[in-house]
């Protein structure tokens, strides 16, 4: 075959394999108008397009909640499972299929209340997956009950007098777990940074934990208005090992900090600030080992290999009559 003949064919092939944004769009989203989830979805779809993730090799796993409807709106494989149980499902998927790109979408109730045990342990396992907690500080789907991240004093259907407990800070908690290897925070109203932060998370080998502050106009209207209106109340974290804000964005959000994501102590301090709201990669450590179970060396376990192993195992337990018998 000559080069001339091959070239157009090859170009055609490239064109075929180019995934467009539409290739990642699933069912029509049913979130409320103005719901922060929509912007996050769009940012993630852009990320998939930019990374050219094969839709069939990509799985979005979620729990139950408004936010957990997310996988339905992607045109990839999706697993919309049980309230709180997205992480262990995703771990099973990843252990079985390291070749798949695994994303987990969970809510503040899903992750930090009913799924707390799984959250803590998922951080500890540090399997290679990208976890987005869409934290709206409320139970959206079940219609306005306080969540573990609800601001102190929030009036909701279950706390008509206002909540009396301090909220959990998901990033502080995550940073407290020794094996945490990637911790970041984003806000739905700066979609460009959602994209960049999730991209950094996706690039990271290990479990990347991204809390996305998400607006719920239905039940917590105006909660972040002050920050949305005043870019000065945002703190952008920049670093060559984290994300680098684009000049355009930097001209709007002037409050920056050069933060080295290797600095865990500073990361903890940043994590505990809620005003200004920090956005960026707080912590990143490439050297934490990923949970790799003793699945045996990476080779082909053909039926014959398996049979061979089994025969050996049976040998261990086999008894052959030594004397007896004979009558």
């Amino acid at each position: 075959m000559t080069m001339d003949a091959a070239a157009p064919h090859c170009l055609l092939g490239m064109f075929d394999e180019d995934y467009t944004l539409d290739d990642y769009k699933g069912a029509e989203p049913r979130w409320c108008v103005g719901c922060g989830d929509s912007a996050i979805l769009a940012a993630v779809q852009r990320l998939c397009r930019d990374e050219q993730l094969a839709p069939e090799k990509t799985v979005f796993v979620s729990g139950i909640g408004c936010s957990s409807r997310f996988p339905h709106y992607m045109h990839t494989y999706g697993f919309h499972g049980l309230h709180g149980r997205a992480l262990p499902v995703a771990e099973g998927i990843k252990l079985q299929r390291p070749d798949l790109h695994v994303f987990v979408i969970t809510g503040d109730g899903d992750c930090c209340s009913i799924g707390t045990a799984h959250w803590i342990h998922a951080i500890r396992y540090n399997m290679d997956m990208t976890v987005l907690v869409l934290d709206n500080g409320i139970y959206g789907l079940t219609k306005n009950q306080a969540s573990p991240t609800s601001p102190l004093g929030l009036k909701s259907n279950t706390t008509p007098q206002g909540t009396v407990l301090e909220p959990i800070n998901p990033i502080s908690v995550t940073l407290g777990i020794r094996n945490a290897s990637f911790v970041a925070q984003a806000v739905d109203w700066i979609p460009e940074l959602v994209h960049d932060i999730v991209d950094a998370a996706f690039q990271h080998k290990g479990l990347s934990f991204v809390r996305v502050l998400q607006r719920c106009p239905e039940y917590l209207d105006g909660r972040y208005d002050a920050w949305v209106k005043d870019p000065g109340k945002m703190l952008l974290l920049n670093h060559e090992n984290g994300i680098q804000t684009s000049p355009a964005l930097a001209s709007v959000y002037k409050n920056h900090e050069i933060h080295d994501p290797a600095d865990r102590n500073r990361a903890r301090e940043i994590a505990s600030t809620s005003d200004p709201i920090p956005v960026g990669v707080l912590y990143r450590n490439q050297s934490i080992p990923c949970y790799e179970n003793p699945r045996g060396p990476d080779r082909l376990y053909t039926p014959d290999v398996v049979k061979g192993v089994l025969e050996k195992e049976l040998d261990r337990f086999t008894i052959q009559a030594v004397g007896g018998g004979g009558d």
Binding site: K57, F79, P88, V89, H118, V305, V322
Partner: protein
Amino acid sequence: MSTQILDETRQPAEDVTNADSSASRADKSRSASRDKDAVILEEHIVEVISDSGEGAQRCGQSFGSIAARMGNGIWTVEIIPAEIQPPARSIAGASGIRIRLASRRVTNGGDEADLIVAFNEQVLLKRVRDNELKPGCIVLIENKWRHDQDAGIAASYAATIDKLIADGHGVHEIPMEEECLRYVDNAKRGKNMFVLGMLSAIYSLDLEAARNQVAFAFAKKSSAVVESNIKLLNAGHEWALENLDMCFRIPPSDVHEPQIVVNGNVSLGLGLMASGMEICAMYPITPATSASHYLSDVFHNVGGAVHQAEDEIAACAFAIGASYAGKCAATITSGPGFALKQETIGLAVMAEIPLVVINVQRGGPSTGLPTKAEQGDLLFACFGGHGDTPNVVMAAADIEDCFYSVIAARKIAETFNTVVVVLTDASLASAQQPYPRPKIDTDWLAPPINQNAVPEGAKPYDWDATTGLANRFIPGQPNGMHCLTGLAHDRMSRVAYEPDINEEGMRSRSLKLAALQKTLKTPLVYGGDEGDMLIVGWGSTKGAIEEAVDRLRADGHKVSSLHLKFLQPMASGIGDVLKRFKRVLTVESNWSDSLDDTIIDEENRRYSELAWLLRARYLVDIDCWSEVRGQPLKPGVIATAIREKLHQKGK
């Protein structure tokens, strides 16, 4: 006594191996000469009981293995105290093992013991209290306590011995420790091997085989340890030959097939590997855990992994994730963990993800009897889910069946894209029984993960109108992208609340059980095809029930039994079998109210679990007999219960 003394001449003594050492020749000629005087038995039940940590279980297991190697049928049952380190010399601390050995194949632990070796009188008293001694039981007991410095101990020992003798037991006081100290410094480590030697002499076992067994049991230890244990074994053997005036022989039957000797949990682990499953997620819980111990040791050799999750919910969700993304996975647990898994099991049923859930049942409810046997989770396994969750339930009947059940479960789970619950229980978990070495068939293995493109237009839930079956799409398959959901969904896996669609999904999932049911064979009746009473059982009680039926039939009763492997769905033809008998009685190891209780009557009686199921399905007035003593059911107890039922008038 069930042991029968046969005509000695029918069983000529034989020279067993052609070992060449002069020592072993000497042993042999002496054994052989004693062999001629050996009392020939069909079977015996032997127990070795000690404080925990004294090695009674290793002794008994080795004893059983040697007997099995010689071709005897055996069944061993571990006697496990509830605490890890109970106080020494305490009744609650009795730790040990029962070995039932016989000429023929043994299917259960039997009734009471014929011979007990006890390391102190307190642990023996536990067995006395539990009525585990046959009348005239032979007792071999460590005699050092008679002269214990603590007067209380010496008195307790003396009183116990006197009482045992008065009760007609044949007591032999043995200077075990004293003898052992001639060979080792610490008799606590090694007395068990001395006892093994004694037992080998008493039961005319081949000493060479015993030495090999000891070498095998201590294979991981240094050669010094092996040597010292063999010394003690020899010493025990020698001592018994010199000092004990008893010698039995249980002629082995004609077994030529190679057998494997494992307990029920190892059998499950082997079955898991042979089924081609690659992931087993679990959270430690007695009595299921040892299956994962075994698997953790070897699973990686076939590319598999045991995942110890943070809890049972996570374990089940993890297995579901693994199944969803590839081959069917398993999760293994016991009652409390099984309860935690219910919501996730429901998800797998709803989303039609294959999953094998093994429940090694223990006594319940709540934390219940963690180390003890019960069959209390049958109805829970069938109906534990909220809403309609048609999952398959099957039960392993014996150690061998643990192996094959898992293989069948994997295949069914993957063929029908649903959950298969396999029930075993504590009585199988640690019991050992030889069974024919499986002939591994690569057809048992799961097929490779399908990564072919899904045909254009195919639907993820394209339920077949007749069978309810649909192909599932596995991540990685081009064109198969869809969002699986635990919400009600249509054929495209879209969330759907429409009444018709909901009913269609319900119907399809339910039809799959019927489709499986069409493939199940009617189980065979044990005994006669019709008669006065049919005993129906399930799970680990099979051997004991059939032995009870044998005894009753030998006495002329028209009693048969039927054992169910599939509890949900049940094979066709069972209703017809039930109708061929005048009465039907389930025998189970779970709670049922007794009509003897004053306020219990036919209108409020709570039946045993299988009885509920059978009554509901077959509209037959089925009675039940059950026990929840935490022990495996005994054939003798079952036979007595059936006899009483047979004598009950009317009904």
